[in-house]
């Protein structure tokens, strides 16, 4: 059907290199959807933020990419292996930081995408879902 999705891609976030791998995989997925330069850059930047967050605070994790053509949307699901976030609202605020970063990461990512959901998974770790029309 017209709404058929391309095969989702999975990236294991274990080392710093994997952040770059996540970025380029999402970038390619955006290219396949013929996303505009701006929409692509916004989404890929957000992916970079959540992938780094998963690696730095969650001790690594997994990022899954899915794309749909009708409407043209890109989505990622990222979960980490960390202890979770104590106060999610606080973590989303600009300027909040626990690891010496400037703390614009998660809040920034949320501003760059259409939909952003973050939660502590019952089985442990933080899960972020984001999607944007491209």
């Amino acid at each position: 059907m017209t709404g058929a999705a391309a095969a989702p891609r999975r990236i294991e976030l274990k080392a710093e290199r994997d952040i770059a791998a996540a970025r380029s995989a999402v970038s390619r997925a955006c290219d396949e959807l013929q996303a505009s330069a701006l929409r692509k850059v916004r989404f890929v930047t957000a992916v970079s933020e959540i992938a780094r967050n998963a690696l730095e605070h969650g001790g690594g994790g997994t990022l899954e990419i899915s794309a749909s053509r009708a409407p043209r949307r890109i989505a990622v699901l990222c979960h980490d292996n960390g202890p979770g976030i104590l106060d999610i609202d606080q973590a989303m605020r600009d300027g909040f930081t626990t690891a010496g970063s400037m703390g614009k990461g998660l809040g920034g990512a949320r501003r760059l995408v259409d939909r952003f959901e973050i939660r502590n998974r019952p089985e442990g770790g933080v899960e972020v879902r984001m999607s944007s029309q491209v």
Binding site: I19, A37, L38, V41, V44, T45, K104, G105, G108
Partner: protein, 120 residues
């Protein structure tokens, strides 16, 4: 590590082009190398070309801002050049306007500005 950034000295100005997909560690060591080289080479200017960067996230943005502040303490002016339009818009939205760095369209624009200030 074949595509790691190389730093060149031209007319008392340190030039570096950051390759796309540079890792966090690589860009941190670049920051360190630049601060060492500013002193050892007696550089008065630093030009960082980011035209190859498809995206600049808050981490890279923060390193660029820190680099400029650090260079200024060592009496060198930093120019960030070649930023792509979509990157500029995204950075502004992230609230990172790099106000500590100077900017120019291209390397030659930055060199011209540095020359007119007697720094190159």
């Amino acid at each position: 590590m074949a595509d790691t950034a190389s730093v060149y000295l031209v007319e008392h100005v340190l030039l570096v082009a950051i390759p796309d997909n540079i890792t966090d560690t690589e860009i941190m060591s670049l920051q360190e190398e630049l601060s060492t080289r500013i002193v050892s080479d007696g550089a008065r200017g630093v030009v960082i070309d980011i035209a190859a960067l498809e995206i600049v996230d808050t981490f890279v943005g923060r390193v660029l801002a820190q680099l400029s502040s650090m260079a200024r303490l060592l009496a060198a002016e930093t120019f960030v050049v070649g930023m792509r339009p979509a990157v500029a818009m995204t950075l502004v939205e992230l609230g990172m306007d790099l106000h500590g760095s100077r900017t120019a369209l291209t390397l030659s624009h930055a060199l011209r500005a540095l020359r007119s200030e007697g720094l190159a």
